[in-house]
Symmetry: C2
Subunit: 114 residues, 2 copies
């Protein structure tokens, strides 16, 4: 008994986490940045189908959530670099786990016979 409150807290934790890394692009962007610092244009090319509008939005959200760092170089033409923060780096465990699960899932689906 008495685990209700804990359960609820855990649930909120997960929900909160999902608000930060949920959505179609967030984790995919993070995965690219986990490979190293990238510029806007590089990300744009690396993400087939994303519009600059979306990319900007997602990056700004990630930035304000403290997951990525945005560095502007006052040059012309402009140069902006994006990199993961320490917290962003700690997401590697999740993306790895997710990828591992995704692989296993695909295997299963392939040989499925429930």
């Amino acid at each position: 008994m008495g685990t209700r409150i804990d359960d609820l807290a855990e649930e909120c934790t997960v929900e909160a986490a999902l608000e930060v890394i949920g959505g179609k692009w967030k984790l995919v962007i993070l995965r690219h940045l986990l490979e190293g610092t990238k510029r806007f244009g590089e990300l744009d090319k690396a993400l087939p189908g994303i519009t600059p509008r979306m990319l900007t939005r997602q990056l700004r959200e990630l930035e304000s959530d403290g997951l990525v760092l945005r560095t502007v170089y006052p040059q012309v033409p402009p140069k902006v670099e994006y990199s993961v923060t320490e917290i962003g780096e700690s997401l590697r465990a999740i993306t790895d786990q997710l990828e591992q699960w995704g692989r296993a899932y695909r295997e299963r689906e392939h040989t499925r016979r429930w």
Copy 2:
């Protein structure tokens, strides 16, 4: 070099995984079912704010993706039980990881001073 194709494949893996467990409710529902078999009404009560419509939809999707099992007992009043399949069970690693990360993230946000 030559890692482009692999990267792309990994990315698709993650995206595919997100299609199955993405969204506002899926993982939260799974978390409840990972605690044990539950009935529709129980889930409804356990998920504050979800509408029966949403709950039904999400459960059906999870079912058709092979993550949960739906068992109907031909009684009146009706009784339907939901439980995780073996694949669903394998998601525990992810929900745990996510919760762990969420906790750490909250800590960070709390004491933030970038």
